[in-house]
Symmetry: C2
Subunit: 207 residues, 2 copies
DNA sequence: TTCTTTTTGTATCGATTAGTATAAAAAGCT
DNA sequence: AGCTTTTTATACTAATCGATACAAAAAGAA
C-alpha cells in the first residue's frame, strides 16, 4: 500500500486496477469552496462529498481523512487564489510590496464565484478541532514571516527609513489584511476594501 | 408559562416553586468564555453545561436554546468586556475616539483569564448556523454604524478635515480593529497590538 | 400535612457526525 | 476467458450533536 500524493495520478506507465472516475484537483477545488464558505467544522462530510461529487470511500481513499483533506485544501488555496501574495513579495520596492498586498486583498473580494473573505482567516479562527486550528495559525504565521523578511531586506537596502521597524510594519500590514478579510466576509464590497487599502497606506513611512 | 428575562430572578415578592441553585449571570459569564474560545458551533452543549456548572434542562429552562443563549452571551459581551467601546465614542475629539478604540482593542489582549481575540469576530465568521452568523454580523455592523455616525458628527463640527470621508475612515478603523482581533487570536501580544495601533494612527488625516 | 410550582438529575430521543466494512464494477495483464 | 488490482456504491458503525421526557427534590401556600 503506497500513499499516493494528492492531485496527481499514478506515475506508472501502466495503470493497474479500475481508474478513478473523478479529477482529484477539481474535487479539491470544490472542497476548497466548501471549507472557504463554511469553515472547517461547518463543512460536514456530506457537504463535502456532495460538492466534490464523489462518495465517502473515494474521499478517504484519495485524501486520507477530513483533517488531511483540509490540509491539502489549504496548500491548494495558497498556491491558487493566494498566489498573488508571493508575487507581491517580489516587487522591487517595499512600498510596492505593501501596496500590492493591500490591493490584492481588496481584489479577492471581487470574484463572484468564490466565497467572501479568506479561508486562512475564517477557516478555523474559533474551532473545536485544535489541530486544524493550529494548522491554519501556522500558515498565517508563515505569511507574516515572509513579509517580515522581505521588509528586513528592504531595510538593509535602504528602501525603508532608518527609524522604521520591519517587524512592526509587517505586523501592521498583516493586521489590516486580516481585518479586510473579516470585513469582506461581512459583506464589504471591493470598492470599500480598496478605500480601506488607500487609507492604510497613509500609515506607511515616508521615504 | 411566562418567559423570564435572562439574568434576573423573578420580580415577584413571593417566590413560587423550588429556587434555582445557580446564578444566571455567573453562568452566562462562563458560557461567554466557552463561546469566546471555541466559537458558536465549536462550543458543544456538553462544553457549555460543564463550564456553567448546570445541567442541560436548567440551561434550556433559563436561556431557551443554544442559539438564544448565544444571543444573551453576545449582549453580555457587548455590555461587559466591550463596554469601553461605547465610552470611546464619547471622547471629545474624533482623533481621541479612534485612539481609544485602537488602544482599547490592544488592551483586550492583556487579560489572561479571557480568551484571545474577540467573540464578535471569531464567534461565527465561518459557521454552519446561518442564524448565528447573521446575528454576529449584525452586531459587527452596528459597531461600525455607531463609529460612522460619531465621525460624521465630528465632520459637521469641523473636527475632521474637509477632504476626509467619515464613512471610509470608520470602515478603516473597524478593519484594523478586526484584524487586531485575528492577530490576537493567533497569539499576538498586547505590546505588538499597541505598536500596530500606533502605526494605524499614522493614517489618520492631519487636522 | 397536603397541594402547587419550579428546579433538578437522569436517562434518553432522533438526527447527524466522522469514518468503514463489504462487495460489485471496471480496468489491465496473462 | 481468468486473475489481479483499484475504485465504486451501499450500508453501516460508534460517537456526538442539540434538545426533552420524566420523576424526584425543594421551596411557599393553604
Amino acid at each position: 500500500m503506497i500513499y499516493l500524493p494528492i492531485g496527481m495520478k499514478s506515475e506508472a506507465t501502466t495503470q493497474l486496477g479500475r481508474p478513478r472516475a473523478f479529477d482529484p484537483e477539481a474535487a479539491l477545488d470544490r472542497a476548497m469552496h466548501v471549507f472557504w464558505g463554511k469553515g472547517y467544522e461547518g463543512a460536514s462530510l456530506s457537504n463535502l462529498t456532495r460538492a466534490m461529487r464523489i462518495n465517502r470511500p473515494s474521499l478517504y481513499a484519495a485524501f486520507g481523512n477530513k483533517e488531511q483533506l483540509f490540509g491539502k485544501v489549504l496548500d491548494r488555496y495558497i498556491s491558487g487564489p493566494l498566489a498573488w501574495f508571493g508575487k507581491a513579495l517580489a516587487a522591487p520596492k517595499a512600498r510596492d510590496v505593501v501596496e500590492e498586498i493591500f490591493f490584492g486583498t481588496a481584489r479577492m473580494g471581487e470574484s463572484p464565484s468564490a466565497p467572501a473573505g479568506c479561508l486562512i482567516v475564517q477557516g478555523t479562527l474559533a474551532c473545536g478541532s485544535a489541530s486544524a486550528r493550529k494548522e491554519v495559525a501556522a500558515r498565517r504565521e508563515a505569511a507574516e514571516v515572509a513579509l517580515r523578511r522581505r521588509l528586513q531586506r528592504a531595510k538593509r537596502e535602504g528602501d525603508l527609513p532608518k527609524n522604521a521597524d520591519p517587524a512592526e510594519l509587517a505586523h501592521y500590514v498583516m493586521t489590516v489584511v486580516r481585518g479586510m478579510a473579516v470585513q469582506s466576509a461581512g459583506g464589504a464590497s471591493r470598492g470599500q476594501l480598496r478605500r480601506v487599502a488607500q487609507i492604510a497606506l497613509r500609515a506607511w513611512p515616508k521615504g
